[in-house]
Amino acid sequence: MMGTFIAELYKVLTRPRSYIGIASIVALVVLIDTSFYFTGKQYIDLLFQNFDPVFRMSGQVVNGNLICFIILQTLIIQLPLLVALVTGDLISGEAAMGTLRYALATPVSRSRFIITKWATALSYVLCILLVLGVFAYLLSLVVFGPGDLLVLNADGLVVIRQDQLPWRFAAAFVYAFISLSAVASLSLMFSAFASNSIGPIVLTMVVIIVFTVISSFETGFFDPVMPFLFTNHMHLWRRLFSDPVPMGEILRSGAILVAHIAAFLGITLWHFNRKDIIE
């Protein structure tokens, strides 16, 4: 199992496409850091202008923690696309290249093949998040320095002390990993059904967009399905920056995401084990 996993990882890491996501993240983080370095003060003034008569903010408001939080909020929307770009191609790309038949004409069982692909997809997600974490968190801290985090959310303005931040960011990255693993598992499932590279990537994005649009409707019509739309649970990492942290809600959403991952993987295994490889 380890041998096939290493070979899969090697295939992903030697493929130019895999670096589109990583390069985009690095470029965007550098751009955001640069823009905040020059115009961060104006941005914060604009953001908090309504509080001006009530609060007086002192200290280093534009700090590494705030920039990291803003980067996370900005990029977390784009990350599913960057993940699907690689994971949606893992099986269908092999079918399109004609290498799938050679990969399966071996003693490796189809279940093991899928599990290996899935583990590779999750490793890529981890890799993307590590790059994001290192660049967004560490680079921002180096450039802007540490400080307390001011978060404006549904509960109002929350100030989180600096010593409370490392575990919250770490937990946010773990939660983001689970969220993106759901996206990776979904695109891998589509990939098992398809024989071209583009279809599963586009379909994954369509599902995320449609679910997100449905989530934004406040008519009540979609309320019964809302808890089952995995996209509704993907943004819960933000709640880790509330005070107090609603752990029950976060864990429940995390469990729903894990259930989705299991369901997507189960469907992939079920279908692929019955599929005739005729490409």
Partner: protein, 301 residues
């Protein structure tokens, strides 16, 4: 050389894609240690059969007995004893030839080291090119790399689907030698699916002709090509007189460099006797059942 013990035995194999029947109850035996030619027109079921033999397709009915074990298809663990080229060899174009073989080696149960990979690269004549990306390879080089991959894990059975595609004439000759070497030196069973009938005629010990999902003829190549109707070529000292005698016997001879006609195997001695009794000297007689003729006749049925 070959023994008659079947290494693969197929019984009543059926496979349909919707309403389209690809295999309609196929029976087939492949002897151990032989080169076995698999022939048939497009849509005869050759590719479906090969894909069943390497576990890509599950048959609807029938059994496959492989290395003494019987299942509805080839069992997964048996694939460590089978190597293949299916339709055409495909690789990861962004990896080198050597890296492609390394990736393939990781799917095998046995440990395959760098030395073995380099040996295979050398064997197929890609020495010095293994480090180049496969995307830069010609079709012939990919074909050679495909052979290397098929042999990498030292399988007992090698399935080659159109293996000479894309090879230049010298490459074809080298590959033929390699296929014969696989049988004679390495002791492998080679299943050779090819549209080039002369290739099968030259190399194969046994063969099966598939048509419309059934095996319409199977046996030793030498026996199949010399049984029943023969294609006779006759060189005489008086071709005109020879032609006349043959016409009188109810045959339809044609004359080019020599007299050619089709005749029943059993009647050939009396035909020769009639020609010589008419005072026509025969200084060369060849009779063969040519594979092209055999192929056409069997698939037109």
């Amino acid at each position: 050389m070959s023994s008659q013990e079947p290494v693969i035995s197929i019984k009543g194999l059926r496979k349909a894609y919707g309403t389209q029947v690809a295999l309609a109850g196929l029976d087939l035996n492949v002897g151990r240690g032989e080169i076995f030619g698999l022939l048939g027109p497009n849509g005869a079921g050759k590719t479906t059969l090969i894909r069943i033999l390497i576990g890509l397709i599950r048959p609807d009915q029938g059994t496959v007995t492989c290395f003494g074990e019987t299942g509805t298809g080839v069992l997964k663990h048996q694939l460590s004893r089978i190597g293949c080229i299916v339709e055409e060899p495909r690789f990861y174009p962004y990896l080198s030839g050597t890296d492609n073989l390394w990736v393939a080696s990781k799917s095998q149960t046995a440990h395959i080291g760098k030395q073995r990979i380099n040996e295979m690269i050398d064997l197929v004549g890609l020495a010095g090119r293994g480090h180049q990306r496969v995307g830069t390879y010609s079709q012939g080089m990919r074909q050679r790399l495909g052979i290397a991959r098929a042999l990498l894990h030292d399988p007992e059975v090698v399935i080659l689907d159109e293996p000479t595609n894309g090879l230049d004439p010298s490459g074809i000759v080298e590959l033929r030698k390699l296929i014969i070497q696989m049988r004679d030196t390495m002791g492998k069973t080679v299943i050779l699916s090819s549209h080039i009938l002369s290739e099968v005629e030259q190399m194969a010990d046994g063969m099966a002709l598939l048509n419309k999902g059934l095996c319409v003829s199977q046996g030793r190549v030498s026996e199949l090509l010399n049984a029943e109707q023969l294609s006779v070529s006759l060189s005489t000292d008086d071709d005109e007189a020879g032609m006349k005698v043959l016409r009188n016997l109810g045959l339809s001879p044609t004359l080019s460099d020599s007299i050619s006609f089709d005749a029943d195997r059993k009647s050939l001695p009396s035909i020769v006797r009639s020609v010589t009794e008419a005072g026509v000297g025969i200084y060369r007689l060849e009779h063969r059942r040519r594979l092209e003729e055999f192929f056409m006749r069997m698939t037109e049925r």
